[in-house]
């Protein structure tokens, strides 16, 4: 609306990858209907998965996928932050350490005992950490993977210098709005919906499956109460421990609940 006289420089967008599966940056390329329009609204300045061309930073908006797991990446995230006016993490790896953060809870001695032919070729850290453990983060988008519509909302919000309209409520709210019958109440299916961050549109219950928590904890959670219900639904202590220890295992709410049930589980020979 303003600056009609002068052609406005398009904001620059950079996409960075750390330890991850590529699925969240693929979500950007999965915006088939919006991709060319987006490329008109922003200058895609650094996105190696999509283009060889590289525009020098600094960048107006950096999207960061993946967690920090190597000494080199620990340095690189500092450079990315320094080159970025706004930095948004996309997905469970960048926001919570990802599935690879399960190493954080492993017996490191035992983990390293399962060595490959030449472990000296590999450099890695003993923990997988979210981007926010290393640098200031302007916004964290949740999900394993992120939701396409939420990604577009976050990009639009940052381009217009407003707050993303993304709710911190639980999956239960989305499920009710979608008109689903509750899988736990109706069928006794264990479901993490009451403690899981909304954003997927209550996908799993729509497919007759209990939520398995890939968006991580909602803003406010009562995992203790939910875990009690899961036990009533015949899940073993070990199963309850496992269900909180997946793609967002390192988030405080899920890590604590998992640890409580891991401690209560009977020791199994050779279990790790």
């Amino acid at each position: 609306m303003t600056d009609v006289e002068e052609p406005r420089r398009r904001p620059t967008l950079a996409v960075w990858k750390f330890a991850s599966c590529d699925g969240c940056q693929l979500t950007l390329l999965n915006c088939e209907d919006e991709l060319l329009g987006l490329a008109g609204a922003v200058e895609i300045a650094y996105f190696p998965e999509a283009t060889r061309a590289v525009v020098e930073g600094p960048y107006d908006l950096s999207l960061v996928e993946g967690s920090v797991t190597t000494p080199g990446d620990r340095e690189r995230i500092q450079e990315v932050r320094a080159a970025s006016r706004r930095l948004v993490t996309i997905g469970a790896c960048a926001t919570a350490g990802g599935i690879q953060a399960l190493r954080n809870f492993a017996d490191v001695e035992e983990f390293t005992a399962a060595v490959y032919a030449h472990p000296e070729y590999i450099a890695t850290l003993d923990r997988s950490t979210p981007i926010s453990a290393h640098v200031r983060v302007d916004y964290e988008l949740r999900g394993c993977p992120i939701d396409r519509v939420q990604l577009l909302e976050v990009i639009a919000a940052f381009l217009h210098r407003r707050k993303p309209r993304i709710s911190g409520e639980s999956v239960c709210m989305e499920c009710k709005r979608r008109g689903n019958v509750c899988v736990t109440v109706a069928h006794g299916t264990p479901c993490l919906g009451p403690v899981t961050h909304a954003g997927c549109g209550a996908l799993c219950p729509s497919y007759d499956r209990g939520c398995y928590g890939c968006f991580g904890p909602a803003e406010t959670t009562n995992t203790v109460s939910l875990a009690r219900r899961l036990r009533e639904l015949d899940m073993s202590e070990r199963d309850v421990a496992r269900v909180f220890a997946t793609f967002n295992a390192a988030t405080p709410a899920f890590a604590a609940e998992s640890a409580r049930h891991e401690a209560a589980a009977p020791a199994a020979g050779g279990d790790r």
């Binding site: 990858k17 750390f18 330890a19 991850s20 599966c21 590529d22 699925g23 969240c24 940056q25 693929l26 979500t27 999965n30 088939e32 209907d33 991709l35 060319l36 490329a39 895609i44 996105f47 190696p48 998965e49 999509a50 283009t51 060889r52 061309a53 993946g66 797991t69 990446d73 620990r74 599935i99 690879q100 190493r103 492993a106 983990f111 390293t112 399962a114 490959y116 032919a117 030449h118 472990p119 000296e120 070729y121 590999i122 450099a123 890695t124 850290l125 003993d126 950490t129 394993c144 993977p145 799993c204 497919y207 007759d208 499956r209 398995y212 496992r242 997946t246 793609f247 199994a268 790790r272």
Partner: protein
């Protein structure tokens, strides 16, 4: 990239663009001869095999899908087959068909991503698809439309396009209905037309004169169909073995410059998996429209030029659309979504054809279903040694090219394999530096 006066030069690309994951390429030339070629994989390892230990036997499909956001269905399918094998369970025919349909969606999505967004810019001379769209808008829109059809199929059958939620050991949580599939059908009819147009487009590209006569092809094969969600191994050298013998046929070794292992076929050495191998070993299994498209593109029953892999991928796009429509048209409601898979002690093997080539899983389970050991061999790690051999053979006769041009064409030679580096590095174990 450097160019010294003494006839030695080094071609280096620190970040390979338009591949999935993080890799670098280094080619060293001394006295006019290619002295060393390294595809260096620096993508951080994520240790999936280690973290699978101790998990329940129903968990590997969801967990291993997180190895790769581009081919999550492949991981879910190979994991399901291996666990079901370990537990002695066979799934009903409607489950097999719906798995094949979901997998068709992944082939369409993944192949279109590679053909249009990652590979085609090399042939047409653009750094990426956005730049390409300025001059070839309709072409790019066709690619995005095709990709959307693949994603829509995955979203319907699997719940979402990345890490589908509807897959479980034993089948699905919910069977897709005939009414839902009928609604999706027009999108796939259009996709079949778009796939056929894609074959015509890419068949008209210019290809480097480069044949890899010596390489061994390895792919799955079935009694009836083009191999996607099932099959038994065959090799171009006449070998044939079931998934359970994979470990005896394939060894992996760890090389210093890479975070991925290199695979080697017994008595042969490096081998190739993926579209070229699959096509050349299964030309007689192509459905009719795909076979016609391949003939019209002048492919012949065997293709040994990796630069033509883009044509083979396009033919496989036709195959996936045609197969999807066949399954949709034959679908009737009323089957069971899944069968129970009670845990038992044992070892199970599973292999399916990921878009980039055969993906092998093996699990050893305890009596209560706990995973005691897991082995996963993704397609890209099977191809790495061959990619390096390709580069070596490709560069030698082209050393007189301008360095920028040679570098660009070497990158293209790597992209011929659509390497998925995220997949290739998932499994290495570690040295630990404490933070």
């Amino acid at each position: 990239m450097t160019h010294a006066d003494d006839g030695s030069r080094e071609i280096t690309v620190e970040t390979l663009a338009r591949v999935e994951g993080e890799g670098a390429m280094r080619i060293l030339v001394e006295d006019g001869k290619v002295a060393d070629v390294q595809l260096r994989i620096y993508e951080p390892p994520r240790f999936f095999e280690a973290l699978l230990r101790g998990r329940g036997h129903t968990e590997p499909p969801d967990i291993t899908s997180r190895i790769c956001g581009i081919c999550p269905v492949a991981y879910e399918m190979s994991a399901c087959l291996a666990i079901e094998d370990a537990c002695g369970v066979t799934v009903p025919e409607e489950v097999r068909l719906l798995r094949r349909l979901l997998y068709c969606g992944e082939w369409i999505e993944s192949h279109t991503l590679h053909v249009y967004l990652l590979h085609l810019p090399d042939f047409l001379g653009y750094p990426g698809v956005v730049e390409m769209s300025a001059d070839h808008r309709e072409l790019v829109e066709r690619g995005l439309r095709l990709k959307h059809a693949g994603n829509a199929l995955m979203a319907l059958v699997g719940g979402r396009a990345v890490h589908p939620v509807n897959v479980r050991v034993g089948g699905f949580y919910r069977l897709t209905t005939a009414a839902e599939l009928a609604q999706l059908r027009p999108l796939l009819v259009r996709a079949l037309d778009d796939a056929l147009a894609t074959v015509t487009t890419v068949a008209g590209l210019e290809f480097a004169d480069f044949e890899q006569d010596a390489y061994e092809y390895v792919a799955l094969r079935t009694g009836t169909d083009y191999p996607i969600e099932a099959g038994s191994f065959v090799t171009s050298g006449g070998g044939a073995f079931p998934a359970r013998d994979f470990d005896a046929w394939v060894t992996e070794h760890h090389v210093a410059h890479s975070n991925a292992l290199h695979a080697s076929l017994r008595d042969v050495g490096p081998y190739v998996v993926g579209p070229l191998a699959r096509y050349s070993l299964n030309h007689d299994r192509l459905p009719p429209t795909a076979r016609q498209a391949a003939d019209a593109a002048g492919l012949g029953p065997v293709c040994r030029n990796p630069f033509r892999s883009i044509v083979v991928r396009a033919v496989e796009l036709v195959t996936a659309c045609e197969e999807a429509l066949r399954i949709i048209d034959g679908w009737s409601d009323g089957g069971v979504p899944s069968v129970p898979v009670p845990a038992r002690a044992g070892v199970g093997y599973g292999a399916t054809e990921a878009p980039r080539g055969v993906l092998y899983h093996r699990y050893e389970l305890a009596e209560d279903g706990r995973v005691l050991d897991a082995r996963i061999v993704p397609p890209t790690s099977q191809n790495l040694a061959s990619i390096e051999l390709d580069l070596r053979a490709f560069v030698q006769p082209r050393l007189d090219l301008d360095l920028d041009e040679l570098t660009r064409r070497c990158e293209q030679a790597v992209r011929n394999y659509d390497p998925c580096i995220s997949c290739a590095t998932h499994f290495l174990d570690l040295t630990v530096e404490h933070v």
